[in-house]
Subunit: 121 residues, 2 copies
Amino acid sequence: MQLNLNAAFSALADPTRRAILSRLAKGEATVMELAEPFEMTQPAISQHLKVLEDAGLVTRRVEGTRRPRRLAKAGIEAMDQWLAMLQKTLARNYDRLDQVLADMEETTEKTKKEIRRGEKR
Amino acid sequence: MQLNLNAAFSALADPTRRAILSRLAKGEATVMELAEPFEMTQPAISQHLKVLEDAGLVTRRVEGTRRPRRLAKAGIEAMDQWLAMLQKTLARNYDRLDQVLADMEETTEKTKKEIRRGEKR
């Protein structure tokens, strides 16, 4: 899993590969079908697809002589889960900070009241 | 933004950098504070932090002679949004497939009924 996450995040560091994933999210496509809109040669597309397949983000299906590629949901979800974990920890940390600030405010208010009471005497 | 996403995803392709981000999600820390649990030299940690800062995932604060690092929420959210967009497109595509399958099933049922009606005659 660790290794897969490395390869998955690395694969996403390229704008063409991100665009290929966006295209495949809409439905499966062959190398030929991908080469046209991207104005790239088929070998270039194949190379990007190989990186995406090795990272577990894309799978291929056999249909006669066609090899349509589709998005691998599990690979995308693995990255999503890692980011979600990070944001959850961050949110918990913010909540704790909020509590600290609220406690500080409360203490300040108490001190102010005590000072006012002292002044009145 | 495009450039930032490249650097951000690339930065996450390293397990040590992901671990540093997980640690910083819990609260800010200096290079010295990070070096200890990771059992790495301070220059090694500094180098990882530079990659994370350049990618917009970590920021530094000046506090006297200390330079505590913290997570940059916006950078994390940018990646999260890209993945969310991908999953939304994928879900929409699945919904459409479900509709196609439902339509096919309906047609099949109709055909079956017509065949049965034909047999009865």
